[in-house]
Amino acid sequence: MYNDKIVEHFNNPRNVGELKDADAVGDAGSFKCGDTMKLYLKLKDGRIDDIKFQTFGCAAAIASSSMLTELVKGKTLDEALQVTNQDVADELGGLPPLKMHCSNLAADALHNAIANYREGKQAG
């Protein structure tokens, strides 16, 4: 059902955890399917210098979270905002159709974090 890349990201997710001194924090949750994700960004020179996530969700959600963090690390916020759910899924080599919604979480959390940051909200 899941390809090797997804399984690998599920087993060894990149950038798991919290950033105590995050510059931006974003949340996303699918009330219906129950998955939730929290994303922490540390910025430097306008770029994402460090990023961490926490996810409650299925393997697809966890792997998508992991992949997103890899995709946006080092990008500017504007560049990061270009990354779509589809990009995440594509980079993972495709998700099962029924699991596509699980990949939405990651980009949603990123957008939320950036919006929070731009609205001047601080982490915490």
Binding site: Y2, V7, F10, N11, P13, V16, E18, D27, S30, F31, K32, C33, G34, D35, T36, M37, K38, Q54, T55, F56, G57, C58, A59, A60, A61, I62, P96, L98, K99, H101, C102
Partner: protein, 388 residues
């Protein structure tokens, strides 16, 4: 499946036992006649089919002519419910529970669309129907009650005998979906006061694609579909002969073995439950005692069931989950919702269903592999951290 596989998904399906396969083999080879044929190759197959029907009847304390073979539990449930409804021509009231298998629940929903009225009685926190509640739901035009013998997800047994008595007193037909019980616990259609009972062979180490419906003698129902008149017109189509033979043999053996198997599985079950609860922040779903001998269903708080399943799978442990994500739907199981679990708890449910072949060593292996998996996933979880 490598030899190291620890299969704890017997609630989903079970391996076909060797003796049943052995009984089937002649009918997969030389004895290929159509049991409806007049000639010798047909007649000898007919005899074998009728013998299997007798074995099936005996296991339920029923009569052979009360047994109708179907393609499985799903068809048996549909045949009972739709068959009883159809002869009422679109009106009347049905009572069922909120924790039935989809092969009852979704039939009822469809029957509602066709004009029947359905009451879904709730269950308590353990998943049990209260006969009093059910009694109060009875109306003048209630013609059918369908309550499962035991739940497939959380293993809770229903007070079938009492419900059967209620139904009989009120002249209402009573169906029980006993797919999870037949072959696991003694079943006696007389004691249970049932008019219809569904079973499915692949749940008791019989073959897939074959089941049966018990229909009490004298009760008329309509067939689901028409054809060549087999199974006394109630379930037409050339008989799945090897399946029927395998069902009969597997049920005969399972029934003999119930006492020993029950004790064995209950002891494994209780050990597994105790060990899993010891992980901490783990809830047992279903009834503490009145549950299927092999059923363990727990919710690991703060994490999601499918991710647990997949991690177990990588360790060679096969289990299942009522999590939405594992079923490909968006909603978690209606059973876990019905017993009042919060969304997040329902999402964290995992079912280990024990069966023939499981050993103490299997249980110990699970109890060794599960805690680090749970810990790893919790460490990734935003809710876990928040609640510390």
């Amino acid at each position: 499946m490598t030899s190291r596989l620890i299969y704890m998904d017997h609630g989903a399906t079970t391996p076909l036992r060797e003796e049943a396969l052995e009984a089937m083999m002649p009918f997969l080879k030389g004895q290929y006649g159509n049991p409806s044929s007049l000639h010798a190759p047909g007649r000898e197959v007919r005899n074998a089919v009728e013998e299997a029907r007798e074995k099936t009847a005996r296991a339920l304390s029923a009569q052979p002519e009360e047994i109708y073979f179907t393609a499985g539990g799903t068809e048996a449930n549909n045949l009972a419910l739709r068959g009883a409804a159809k002869i009422r021509n679109g009106s009347g009231h049905i009572i069922t529970s909120s924790v039935e298998h989809h092969a009852v629940l979704d039939v009822c929903k469809d029957l509602e669309k066709e004009g029947y009225e359905v009451t879904y009685v709730p269950v308590d926190q353990y998943g049990k129907v209260n006969p009093e509640t059910l009694k109060n739901a009875i109306k003048d035009d209630t013609f059918l009650i369908s309550v499962m013998a035991a739940n497939n997800e959380i293993g809770t047994m229903q007070p079938v005998q009492e419900i059967g008595r209620l139904a009989r007193e009120n002249n209402i037909l009573f169906h029980t979906d006993a797919v999870q019980v037949v072959g696991q616990l003694p079943v006696d259609v007389q004691e249970m006061n049932v008019d219809f009972l569904s079973l499915s062979a692949h749940k008791f180490n019989g073959p897939k694609g074959i089941g049966a419906l018990y229909v009490r003698r004298g009760i008329k129902i309509a067939p689901l579909y028409q054809g060549g008149g087999q199974e006394r017109k109630l379930r037409p189509g050339t008989e799945n002969v090897p399946g029927i033979i395998g069902l009969g043999r597997a049920l005969e053996l399972a029934t003999e073995e119930i006492p020993g198997k029950k004790k064995h599985l209950e002891s494994l079950r209780d050990r597994l439950i105790k060990g899993l609860l010891g992980i901490g922040d783990v809830i047992l779903n279903g009834h503490p005692d009145e549950r299927l001998p092999g059923n363990v269903n727990v919710s690991f708080k703060y994490i999601e069931g499918e991710s647990v399943l997949l991690s177990l799978d990588m360790e060679g442990i096969a289990a299942s989950s009522g999590s939405a994500c594992s079923s490909g739907s968006l909603e978690p199981s209606h059973v876990l919702s019905a017993i009042g679990l919060e969304h997040s708890e329902a999402h964290g449910s995992v079912r280990f269903s024990l069966g023939r072949g499981n050993t103490e060593a299997d249980v110990e292996t699970v109890l060794e592999k599960a805690p680090p998996i749970v810990e790893r996933l919790r460490n990734m979880s935003p809710t876990y951290h928040r609640s510390q």
